[in-house]
């Protein structure tokens, strides 16, 4: 271990303080006894208790999870297909146009995407609810999945697919038995990305959600406008905890896999 110079220490401290002080304050205040968010009234977990009995929040949380799970799954399927065609389809007419158009929603302001979807849904007479949010999130997340998967496909050794064909696979079998298992980590991270994007999306959801279904971000946002309730702090703390656990688990798993792979390779050379 090398000792950090004073300059690096200061930069590191400032950087982390900037990122995490707001969140730490939020977590601390979620254990506040007082009803006033800004006044410390002693330690308590009562807001967590109240949160569990808050029907509106629970319902919104359920809708959010449902929307995230469905839309990220559809987005993963379509996004993977799109990536495959873009990387492997060879040169076909309009390829450049298509690949540009797949990535366009990445840079498009969400407000515009949301508005155009809203107009479309009204135009075709689709009632706004879970279905419309799912459609909106799928559209939006698909291009992220496609970016993640195509970056993996670009480095994919093409001869693996040729070997599968050579050994008697049809094109579909080669994809199912060889390509898909190998690019699975990229597909999974694409799914996770789509899931997270859907979980915390506010803009698209507010355009496409209807009275029958609201997502958690909308619920929180509208609740905060009426004044910050300590329950929101508790809810946010739970979300931070879930995300933290997820990230730490994922990185631990990756690290363990890397260590094991390196050991395997070293053992292999020694034989």
């Amino acid at each position: 271990m090398t000792r950090l110079s004073w300059f690096n220490t200061v930069s590191l401290t400032l950087g982390f303080a900037f990122l995490y002080i707001p969140m730490i304050i939020l977590v601390i205040y979620s254990f506040n006894e007082s009803k006033l968010v800004t006044v410390w009234g002693g330690f308590s977990t009562k807001w967590y208790g109240e949160l569990i009995h808050n029907e509106a929040f629970l319902k919104a949380a359920w809708v959010t999870l449902k929307v995230a799970a469905i839309s990220s799954t559809i987005a993963t399927v379509i996004g993977t297909m799109a990536a495959y065609v873009m990387v492997r389809g060879g040169r076909f007419l309009g390829r450049t146009l298509f690949s540009g158009m797949i990535y366009a929603p990445l840079v498009m302001p969400e407000v515009i995407t949301g508005l155009s979807l809203l107009l479309l849904f009204i135009g075709i007479g689709l009632d706004r609810g879970v279905l419309t949010i799912v459609l909106a999130h799928t559209t939006f997340a698909m291009c992220y999945v496609s970016v993640v998967v195509s970056s993996r496909l670009v480095t994919f050794d093409r001869s693996l697919e040729e070997a599968a064909l050579d050994l008697g696979c049809s094109q579909t079998d080669a994809f199912r038995l060889v390509t898909l298992p190998i690019i699975a980590p990229a597909v999974i991270s694409g799914w996770l990305l789509a899931f997270t994007l859907s979980l915390d999306d506010l803009v698209l959801a507010s355009f496409t959600a209807g009275p029958s279904a609201t997502t958690l971000p909308i619920k929180i946002f509208s609740a905060v406008r009426l004044g910050v309730d300590p329950q929101i702090n508790a809810l946010s703390t739970i979300m931070i905890a879930i995300v933290t656990i997820g990230v730490i688990t994922a990185s631990l798993i990756t690290k363990r896999q890397m260590v094991r792979q390196r050991q395997d390779e070293q053992n292999a050379e020694r034989l």
Partner: protein, 375 residues
């Protein structure tokens, strides 16, 4: 007792397993294969040899079914294979990168092709075990490809491509990723396996030593054309062109003009102003035709005294010595400044070496030692 010689290419009755008939392959404006015809026979170990970009890999990929010829036809057992997709051909390929499936164990990699044929489980297991024995991989069946060494991966790739008992096995630079020692051992293993299984092998390589070692016949390619197709010894001893002579092994090229001096005998006047050289050649040359004498360094004798009775002898001075352990190559400078390489086996310890730098020496060779080639 006479052992029958394996040379179906000299038998007019023999039916070739593979026939290339005037095959041309173009990629856009680039012609990779140019009007090429070639017959390859059953049980042959055939090598396609050439520098990178000469079209040898394209030939192999057309046989595997990953490319289709632009013009001409390719027959496998007298059947046109152009419309047959890769997964329906009785041809398997061993890839340069091995292309082992990283998510499957060695056992499952070898079983992969067999499972596609919907064979009974029992049959598959038996065949995989047979392949593991053949390639001495029994101990590694449960390992994943990244858990074995490079040499073992190469053997897994071979076992996988042989498992379906193809009529024809294609090997794309199969030993390119191995170090020299392992490569030499593996060459003999490959020949052994080829003999045991009786499969026809077509190997693509840019390594002439490898091609010479393993192959029954070698095709030397350049710019999408076959330059010479012959047995390794004929390719080496009787190259049909300057390109082949230069590509295979080490060679001295002497430019000059020929004039006939008897039955199959020529005297070669060369620009270095020394006495004309005596050369015998079965190929005929006209008076004054410019040509090249290709002569291998090991066929040039180096001596301290002027040799008596040699067909050709020239004096020179030792310029450089390349000591390779078993042999030494002497670079000898002639009075005119031209350099000729002579090779001798180091049968004595190096301290007793007869010549050293700057020594005046004589080079000599017989009239039949070299090959006279036209432009």
């Amino acid at each position: 007792m006479t052992v029958p010689v394996f040379e179906p290419w000299n038998d007019p009755e023999a039916k070739p397993l593979i026939q290339f008939q005037n095959v041309t392959k173009r990629f856009g404006v680039f012609t990779a294969i140019d009007d090429l015809s070639l017959d390859i026979y059953e049980r042959e170990f055939f090598a396609l040899l050439g520098p990178s970009g000469c079209g040898k890999t394209t030939m192999m990929r057309m046989l595997a079914g990953f490319e289709t010829p632009t013009e001409g036809k390719i027959y496998l057992s007298s059947q046109d294979i152009a419309p047959v997709p890769p997964n329906k051909r009785l041809v398997n390929m061993m890839f340069q990168s091995y292309a082992l499936f990283p998510h499957l164990s060695v056992w499952e990699n070898i079983a992969f092709g067999l499972k596609r044929e919907n064979r009974p489980k029992h049959d598959i297991a038996e065949r995989v075990d047979e392949m593991l024995r053949l390639t001495r991989l029994e101990k590694f069946a449960r390992r994943k490809p990244h858990q074995i060494s490079g040499g073992q991966r190469q053997r897994v790739a071979l076992a996988r491509s042989l498992a379906k008992a193809p009529k024809l096995l294609l090997l794309d630079e199969p030993l390119g990723a191995l170090d020299k020692k392992l490569r030499q051992d593996t060459q003999f293993e490959l020949m052994d396996i080829q003999e045991k299984t009786g499969t026809t092998f077509v190997i693509v390589t840019h390594d002439q030593e490898e091609a010479m070692t393993v192959a029954s016949r070698v095709a030397v390619m350049d710019n999408g054309k076959l330059v010479q197709v012959a047995t390794p010894d004929r390719i080496y001893e009787n190259p049909n062109s300057l390109y082949v002579a230069d590509f295979i092994g080490d060679v001295n090229i002497i430019d000059g003009t020929a004039s006939p001096s008897g039955q199959d005998q020529y005297s070669l006047a060369w620009k270095d102003g020394l006495a004309p050289l005596n050369v015998s050649s079965t190929q005929s040359f006209s008076e004054g035709q410019s040509c090249h004498l290709a002569i291998r360094p090991e066929k040039v004798t180096i001596s301290a005294e002027e040799p008596t009775g040699a067909d050709n002898a020239v004096p020179g001075r030792v310029l450089d010595i390349a000591y390779l352990g078993n042999i030494s190559t002497y670079h000898v400078e002639l009075p005119s400044g031209a350099v000729i390489k002579a090779q001798t086996a180091n049968t004595r310890r190096i301290a007793r070496r007869a010549f050293t730098w700057e020594d005046p020496v004589w080079l000599s060779w017989t009239a039949t030692a070299g090959v006279l080639l036209a432009d």
